[in-house]
């Protein structure tokens, strides 16, 4: 089930929105029933295609948030106010609507539970989404690999999957999460309160002797900074896989 399904033609298929979860004020998860889903790997994405009544179409890519083991595919989408597709997926779509998509796509930014190396995940904003698929896969597969997540958000209200992450950390000693809130911190906040820097990376990242697998996802500037800091700290660039998005995901 969790095998790569990129072989062969990727055909468009219709899924039905089974559930909508408001994750933050600007971010929602769409839980989608897909009768012909071929399975996916943690970290892959799909293309979503919207069609207007006059035939006009718009396509965008969205990361899959659900584990390969989950019965349904979940997409978590951040609403970009000047976007075209995301304001439809976060705001217009209702349970029972059909959504056209194809996938899974991408065979590189993926993590498999068979990988025993310590895992370092570094997320900026909605860059958490494909990394959450990895964390959920880790839990579902009972992986013994230790996981550290460094997750940068603007404020506590912007932290996606906050409660689920807290539960995973409470229930599994192999999983540790370090939050940093870059713009606003609630009173009594005991996490980081600044943009990612070398000191933070030094405290959270695995020592280089551990030879970790590293996945970094977020806006371009965040990914450039985070991956640059990791390389400066002595990480082999070949350990680090990145996924970036600009402000134009739409």
């Amino acid at each position: 089930m969790a095998r790569a399904a990129v072989l062969g033609r990727l055909t468009w298929q219709l899924g039905e929105v089974a559930e909508l979860i408001q994750e933050t004020p600007r971010v929602s998860s769409l839980v989608i029933d897909l009768p012909d889903w071929p399975g996916h790997l943690a970290g892959q994405h799909v293309d979503v295609r919207l069609t207007a009544e006059d035939g006009y179409q718009a396509q965008r890519s969205y990361s899959i948030a659900s584990a390969p083991e989950a019965p349904r595919v979940t997409l978590t989408v951040e609403r970009l106010e000047d976007g075209e597709v995301s304001p439809y997926l976060v705001g217009e779509v209702r349970v029972g609507d059909k959504v056209e998509l194809r996938g899974p796509i991408g065979g590189y930014f993926v993590w498999r539970a068979g990988d025993a190396r310590p895992l370092l995940l570094v997320a900026g904003g909605s860059g958490i989404v494909p990394l959450m698929a990895m964390i959920r896969h880790h839990a579902a597969a009972g992986s013994a690999a230790p996981v550290r997540l460094l997750y940068s958000s603007r404020s506590i209200e912007d932290v996606i999957y906050k409660d689920e992450l807290a539960q995973l950390v409470a229930g599994d000693k192999r999983v540790a999460v370090a939050h940093t809130l870059t713009r606003m911190q609630p009173s009594g906040w005991d996490g980081y309160g600044r943009r990612i820097d070398g000191e933070m990376v030094g405290e959270v990242a695995w020592p280089k002797k551990d030879g970790p697998a590293v996945f970094v996802c977020g806006p371009t500037a965040f990914v450039e900074t985070a991956s640059g800091l990791l390389v400066e700290s002595g990480y082999d660039p070949a350990w680090i896989r990145t996924e970036r998005f600009g402000a134009t995901g739409g």
Binding site: G8, L10, A52, S61, F109, V223, S227, G228
Partner: protein
């Protein structure tokens, strides 16, 4: 009539000339960055560009030698497989026609290889004829590392993953050899006008 997304109207063409926007693409005004790993940084004093493989004699240029090759500025539209297109981008570079003139080869295929280990494959026919360049300036400025500087391949008539960032050489080959994304689910040729995004498209 086919499927309609209930309640979707769309923002339409963003004012752009739709004849210049391939199917499934939308126009952006910024310049998104996509790469699979950390941005490599190689000092120009250590940078070289090589032509290797099925050639009578391999060629190698230092940065200074490369910059003495005839270069040109050109304005092209670029199309990324992640759906964005950017119109009227201006670059300066050395055409692959100029570079390939300097070797004797009967090879039909090329693999571009890069700092950081990235590779991508192209037919030689897609590199010749003033449609492919090794670009070193964008918008009149030295190319930023995150956009592939000091120099990247630029093949604007194909999806942008073919325009390998941080290019360090071209291997000319008798046989086609799929590169990094081409072995990870992406189309072997990547023509945006035929929407050749993924395997089987």
């Amino acid at each position: 009539m086919g499927f309609v997304s209930r309640g979707f109207r769309g923002k339409r063409r963003d004012g752009a000339d739709s004849s210049r926007v391939p199917p499934g693409q939308h126009v952006v005004n910024d310049f998104p960055v996509l790469s699979a790993g950390p941005t490599p940084r190689v000092p120009l004093s250590e940078w070289t560009l090589s032509i290797v493989g099925e050639v009578d004699e391999p060629k190698r240029w230092t940065w200074d030698e490369f910059r003495r090759l005839p270069s040109e500025s050109f304005t092209v539209d670029i199309h990324c497989v992640t759906k964005w297109s950017k119109l009227d981008t201006t670059w300066t570079g050395v055409s692959l026609a100029t570079i390939l003139e300097q070797v004797e080869t009967a090879a039909d295929f090329a693999v571009a290889y890069c700092d950081g280990g990235y590779t991508t494959n192209l037919p030689v026919d897609d590199l010749t004829g003033q449609q492919a360049w090794i670009a070193f300036e964008y918008d009149g400025q030295p190319l930023d590392p995150e956009h592939g500087g000091p120099a990247r391949l630029l093949v604007p008539h194909l999806y942008l993953w073919k325009s390998a960032k941080w290019v360090r050489g071209i291997s000319l080959q008798a046989e086609d050899e799929p590169g990094f994304w081409e072995t990870n689910g992406y189309h072997n040729h990547g023509d945006p006008w035929r929407e050749q995004r993924y395997w089987g498209d």
